[in-house]
């Protein structure tokens, strides 16, 4: 059993780093807050006798040595970055539970056959730098390092510059090493487990995602002197597109999701008809065919904006395939749940996770715990200490079982 109080106290400490007045956290990838959280994680790890390596994407690998260094290690972990005005558990819970797991093994003087590696993936959220899961994507061969280092935030700062700025660009290339099994523990970020009063989600699959950047170019004009029919208004065109994107989501109920999370207006002045809107669009669905249909509908909607005298350019920046997790990995978690006397159900994740990418190169699966009302990507994200404890225990026994093989 893990030490539930110690786990909760590390979560409470991490919640201070980037803490917001409303009780959430803004700890954007490679920001100063991220640096502080990383340093704390590293210091805790070194104090406990683990090693800590950083790769060229800033991914941190904390290793507790097993008996047999020639065997492939077992991996666990998640991410310490957050959304802007995000919650205190998304990502950081999986990292702190992984640390707690390693500390528990120390406390009980348990030697494992295999090394156990706790990973903190850089820029999982995709909030500061799009797309999400960028660094696990490089590590697993989805993206080149050059591509990833050149991704820029809103201010034009690249991932490479941001890594240097916080001192987290490691020497070792971000490239996968052999992994025996990988487990990520995460909050569900949806309402199902809490609604059904189930302790643990055994995640068997994750939805696919397609992300787009849309640039709508109209023509700036004076709001007082430009008659309505003469306008080429990028903002009203954007509004038309936004309602169509929403409709595409509704056309793919119950599983489809269509979201515009970001929109930036130029010149963004009250008495100027906007010349430009740059926005995101993202679609999610468990089936690739549905994503194809959604993407086609987006292109059609964008082309239709020509009737408003504007030009809409659609760029796909992220194509994240639906995946299925490894059955043998899931079986270890199922066995752990049974041994611990918890309730569990199989689930599909609507959120993307680094471990989805890891599953392309190694046996992997995920463990979910409930979160209140399914609220996530929100300062109001909450979990109960007992949920936290149960998830970490399932993680402990899943990882331990694999590490003794």
């Amino acid at each position: 059993r893990i030490n539930a109080d110690r786990l909760w106290s590390t979560l409470t400490m991490m919640a201070q780093i980037g803490g917001t007045p409303a009780g959430g956290v803004t700890r954007l990838a490679l920001s100063d807050e991220d640096r502080i959280a990383r340093n704390l994680l590293r210091d805790w790890s070194l104090e406990a006798g683990f090693s800590c390596d950083v790769d060229s994407m800033g991914n941190m690998f904390i290793r507790r040595a097993g008996k047999n260094p020639t065997l492939a290690p077992v991996m666990t972990g998640s991410h310490v970055d957050s959304q802007p005005l995000g919650g205190n558990y998304d990502g950081i819970y999986g990292v702190m539970a992984g640390l707690e797991l390693l500390r528990t093994l120390n406390d009980n003087d348990i030697e494992t056959e295999r090394d156990i590696v706790l990973v903190n993936w850089t820029n999982e959220e995709g909030a500061r730098f799009a797309p999400a899961m960028l660094a696990s994507g490089v590590w697993t061969g989805q993206f080149s390092e050059e591509y990833a280092h050149a991704r820029a935030d809103r201010d034009g700062i690249t991932v490479g510059e941001a890594l240097d700025a916080i001192g987290y660009r490691g020497e070792r290339p971000a490239r996968a090493f052999p992994i025996h099994a990988c487990y990520e523990l995460h909050i569900e970020q949806g309402p199902i487990l809490e609604d059904e009063a189930i302790d643990i989600g055994l995640v068997r699959a994750a939805m696919g995602q397609r992300w787009f950047t849309i640039t709508i170019d109209g023509f700036a004009a004076h709001a007082g002197t430009t008659p309505m029919p003469s306008r080429r208004d990028a903002l009203t065109a954007f509004a038309e597109l936004a309602l169509k994107v929403e409709a595409i989501g509704y056309q793919h109920l119950p599983d489809g999701r269509a979201t515009i999370g970001m929109a930036n207006v130029t010149p963004n002045s009250r008495n100027v008809v906007p010349s430009r809107v740059v926005c995101s669009v993202e679609f999610r669905h468990p089936q690739s065919e549905a994503l194809d249909a959604m993407e086609a509908a987006l292109h059609q909607a964008a082309e239709h904006l020509a009737a408003r005298g504007v030009n809409a350019h659609v760029e796909r920046i992220f194509d994240y395939a639906p995946i299925a997790f490894d059955a043998a990995s899931l079986a270890r978690s199922e066995a752990a749940v049974a041994a611990l006397g918890y309730s569990a159900k199989p689930m599909v994740s609507g959120a993307g996770h680094d471990t989805c990418y890891v599953s392309n190169i190694a046996p992997a699966s995920m463990i979910f715990i409930p979160c209140e009302k399914g609220i996530s990507h929100n300062e109001a994200e909450r979990i109960l200490p007992e949920w936290s404890e149960k998830g970490a225990n399932v993680l402990l026994h899943s990882v331990l079982a694999a590490a003794q093989e």
Copy 2:
């Protein structure tokens, strides 16, 4: 006759201050660029022997003394601030033409009966600080100085702080003094004069304006885990509102205008259903009754958003009444046009101007020149040197006639 080359060269110099790569200008009110433009205007004025006073709103009053200091002066002027990514003539043309007028009187050793005051009004555009015409509004008694000093930009910097930062908070209270007549020369910012190949617009009236700030509050949610029907999406609600605002404009053709120029999304992250959108709405029309109807329709549209589970708060921040200019003042410009052999037509301004406020306390009117394709509030704003010259000559003779009375 004014010196057309000198006028053009001052415009060219001013276009460097805040000049943008695309050939426009970003010289926001009370920014460092504004300070530099003000300093240049002041230095040129002092060199030419004029006095320069600054009031508590940063309004600059440059005075060329007449024979009789007890008579009310004649006023002319406009503003040196610009929109973000704005043009090289909006406002600055009227100020530089006023300076040229005073220099021309010097060159010709013309003594006037009355003083002539060239004014540079602070924050005409309303881009950095809403509403527009803020400082002429204080000067003419529309707004209190406390209210105006407390208006804040997007970063929370107030007008009072910004005045201090650039050293343009004068001692003298911003309060009107007696004015015999006031003329503002400005680009039309619409296409009519160019389309009809007319030199001069004699502005007899200006449309009313109503400006609003709308805050739409939904609930931040994870874009992957939150089913479409469970969302309280502030952005899709905003999109619905934006199309309704556009429709309100179309319902009041040909004169009605409805514009959303500004929208800011929170948290503005690609994979978060937005919790909040704050946007502007503005309506314009020559008739107050039509503005009332537009405002009522806005409230209805905002209330309708409750069906989406969001709350829309509508705040009116600016109520700018339609005005008619002074017939006697217009007559002097008409006489000038005739004497100079130019063509002219009476016009209504869709844009607001400081001189609309001045017309509440003194006889006032405006003179327009064409601008290419009516493009304004855009970096592509252009005028021809000969248009510039003709407008300045009409201004010269309008002001001179009044100043000799």
